[in-house]
């Protein structure tokens, strides 16, 4: 199978605490994969391992970008992960609050441009063209995401739902092959969640970007994911299609507790 992301037996220890224990996970090209589990199950830790924020204690993480070579990416620098084509959003929105919406997205273009200090000072025509390309491309992304009329607004002045969308726009600007969304629907109202659902599917279908998302909102998880992985206490307890996961007794137990007679 053509997996774009392949995680084999990843373990992450923090001192004596084992946050992840031998987790396997694959994301195939063009898939929407959801990672679910109760609070503290290690989902965000998993994201941090994949995007280079943590270096996993054991195990291997491989990526194979479409049309690129398969490579092991354990413990690479965070910015390298983005350069290689993995972009993420954060559980607590982490925008650049005092920059405009457009500039936030332009930062995402940073790693795809190359003007250096001298280029910035002399501003020759290739630098100008590159700048204009950054602006135009960023604007196009904002049109797709639906933030085109708030281009010059400061990011901190956007409503919460829009901030989450902007984070996705910024991540898309890095031209990823894999988008990692950490609880994209958190704090959104039902209408916003619905729009987000459409957006995620649209990103997958039109931009051909595979998606791995952590989400607590079961409605969105069940309706758009192709496959679901369930983590509990740092271990993978189940994987499968939404229908399989819904029926899985282990998952039900993990979510509802031991004593429930269901």
């Amino acid at each position: 199978m053509d997996s774009v992301l392949e995680v084999n037996g990843t373990t992450m220890d923090f001192g004596g605490l084992r946050a992840l224990h031998a987790v396997d996970l694959q994301v195939r090209q063009g898939e929407i994969v959801a990672l679910i589990g109760p609070n503290g199950a290690g989902k965000t830790t998993f994201f941090n391992c994949v995007t280079g924020i943590y270096d996993p204690t054991e195990g291997d993480i491989f990526i194979s970008p479409p049309g690129g070579k398969r490579r092991r990416i354990n413990g690479i620098k965070i910015n390298r992960a983005a350069e290689l084509g993995m972009a993420r959003t954060f559980q607590n929105v982490r925008l650049f609050p005092n920059m405009t919406v457009l500039e936030n997205v332009m930062i995402g273009r940073h790693c795809r441009a190359k003007a250096g200090v001298l280029g910035a000072i002399f501003r020759g025509w290739d630098t100008r063209r590159e700048e204009q390309e950054i602006v135009d491309h960023s604007y196009e992304i904002l049109v797709k995401i639906g933030l085109a009329d708030q281009v010059d607004e400061l990011a901190k002045n956007l409503p919460y739902g829009a901030q989450r969308r902007l984070e996705i726009a910024r991540a898309m600007a890095t031209e990823p092959f894999l988008l990692l969304l950490d609880e994209p629907a958190a704090g959104m109202n039902p209408r916003e969640t619905e729009a987000l659902e459409e957006l995620i599917v649209q990103i997958r279908d039109e931009e051909k970007i595979s998606i791995l998302m952590i989400e607590h909102d079961m409605k969105i998880v069940m309706s758009i994911s192709d496959r679901i992985f369930v983590l509990d206490y740092g271990e993978k307890i189940a994987e499968g299609t939404p229908a399989e996961i819904r029926e899985n007794p282990v998952v039900i137990k993990a979510y509802l507790g031991e004593d429930v007679n269901a």
């Binding site: 924020i53 940073h110 204009q132 009329d149």
Partner: protein, 410 residues
Amino acid sequence: MKALSEFKKALIISLWFMLLTFPIMVIRVNTIEKVVEWRWRNMAFIGIGSFLLSFVWRYLLGRKEKGRKLAEAGSVEARPFSRRLLDEPRIYRPALAAVTLFAVAFPFLFSSYQTNIMTTALMYVMLGLGLNIVVGLAGLLDLGYVAFYAVGAYSYALLNHHFGLGFWAILPVGALLGVLFGILLGFPVLRLRGDYLAIVTLGFGEIIRLILENWNEFSFGPSGIANIPRPGLFGIQMSLNEATIYLYFLMIALCLFTIFVVNRLQDSRIGRAWIALREDEVACQAMGIDKTKTKLTAFALGATWAGMVGVIFAAKTTFINPASFTFLESAMILSIVVLGGMGSIIGVILGAFILILTPEYLRAFSNYRMLLFGTTMVLMMVFRPQGIVTNVRRIYKFRARGRDGEPSQA
């Protein structure tokens, strides 16, 4: 109702002050006639004075609060007044012309003493703009900026002393040494931020100064280096007055150069990376920005200007010793940046002029000038913590927009 409660608060404050100052302002023991004088009139003055002051203070605070609420509600135009002034071509064009004219005519209108002060102020403009890159844009609190200034000054003094190199040869060397020392400082502090970074940079500044003070064989210690030549101009002999004027224009040119470069840097891919780094370090890295490279360029490009100004400083004063490069100097440059408005070029220029020229021209108030200076700073920080001129984000033009920057559709 609100006015009444404000009135009450002011009244309580004035009563409190009357009580506090009672022993020193009212009672006086006349030791010669051995009687106690009761100066009740002083108490009345204190009471009325503190009442009025606290009333004005509360009024201003209230206005500030109201302004903030309005801004949050979005009913006030987002662009601040100062920015609207700057954007209006009918205002800024004549203003720019007037400033240029004034700058050109200045040394011929005023004494060389005044020109000297102006040159100093311009030097601080450059220093402020340099530190602005590190503190204002990249958000790295650097309390040892004066170290780069010292490096520049000593590189001119020493290279001139030992090898007889001239000002123009050393000016770029000073800048390069600034870059080198910027990177040298940058490496160990890559992982630090906030208070920790401030302390380490403060230490760095002190290390450089202590080395200069104690390594006699190298830097001639506290006695410093004298007889540093002034900048030359194709070997033309200049009188002291002419040299002062020459240095003034040289400084103007260098300031314009600095403004040009810093402005370009700020509006570039690198400038945006600096600001992103200031705003959120983790998110910035996750978007593919190399933290190491970005931080080091900020330190290096910030230090460049200090290195250059250092060379000019040595040439201007013709004598340097480590006492010119104390922490107080770093604090002064930092105040320029903070007072002027972090990240704003115009703000930093204004800040430098205010902070350097005010103490000079307040000499008339002799004893009170530092008090006035301090009061101004405190008032500034209470009522305009974002600085004189706030940095406003740029509006970009793109295909879907017309020339006027407005969306052509929608």
